[in-house]
Symmetry: C2
C-alpha cells in the first residue's frame, strides 16, 4: 500500500516526520475556499493563522508544484496588468488529500493536548 511523502510523491522507505504536512494542509484549506496564487498564499497563511505561522516563498512554491504534479491542484495562468499570476484550485483528489491531512492533524493535536493535560500518575 503505497505511502506518500514530499507533498504527494511516491516513496520507498522512511516515514515523514510526524508533524510535517502542515504547510500542505494550510495551503489546501485556503484553496478549498477560493482559487489563489502563490504570492497571495504567503500573505494569506500568515493572516489566517493570526501571525502564528509564516511560510516563505521557498516553502510555498515547491509545495504548490508538488501538489500540481500529483494531481491535487490544477493551475491556471492569468495575465493581470503586465504580470502573470498562476492561480491554483483543488481537484477532487486535492479535496480528499485535504480531508486526510485534516484528520491526521486532529489526531496528533489531540494526542499532544492529552499529554499536556493531567498527570499520568492517576
Amino acid at each position: 500500500m503505497a505511502r506518500l511523502g514530499k507533498a504527494g510523491d511516491l516513496m520507498a522507505q522512511s516515514n515523514p516526520p510526524f508533524m510535517s504536512g502542515v504547510p500542505e494542509l494550510l495551503l489546501l484549506r485556503l484553496l478549498n475556499d477560493q482559487e489563489m496564487y502563490g504570492y497571495e498564499l504567503v500573505r494569506s497563511i500568515k493572516q489566517a493563522t493570526d501571525e502564528a505561522i509564516t511560510l516563505g516563498e521557498g516553502v510555498i512554491y515547491p509545495v504548490l508544484h508538488g501538489l500540481e504534479r500529483n494531481g491535487s491542484l490544477k493551475a491556471k495562468r492569468k495575465a493581470v496588468g503586465g504580470r502573470t499570476r498562476v492561480y491554483y484550485s483543488l481537484t477532487r483528489k486535492g479535496r480528499d488529500r485535504l480531508e486526510k491531512l485534516r484528520s491526521d492533524w486532529h489526531r496528533i493535536q489531540s494526542g499532544i493536548t492529552s499529554a499536556l493535560g493531567a498527570p499520568a500518575n492517576a
Copy 2:
C-alpha cells in the same frame, strides 16, 4: 541577543522549523510530574499521546543529552538489578523552558485551528 536551537545550544544563523520542539515539550511535560529514564520515556510518550506520537530512542536520547548539557535537566544514575538507569528530573531552568514551549505550542495550535475554521471571505 543569542537565540536557541537544537534543544538549547547557542547558534548563529537559521531559525528552527516552525513546529519543532514538540518532542522536547513532551519530554519536559512528563518529567515535570516524575523523574523517568530514557527507555521509559519512549513508551510513556506513546501512551500519553494515545498512540498518536511515537518517538524512537534515536530522538529521545539526543534531546535528553542536550537538555542536560544546557542545564534544563539533571541526571541521576541508579543501578536496578544488574542494569543502570539514568533518571532525569527538571531543574528550575527546565520548568521555565517547559512553560515557554507550552506557550509556543498553544500559539501555533490556535493559529492552525483558526485557519482551519470558517472561510476567510467573510
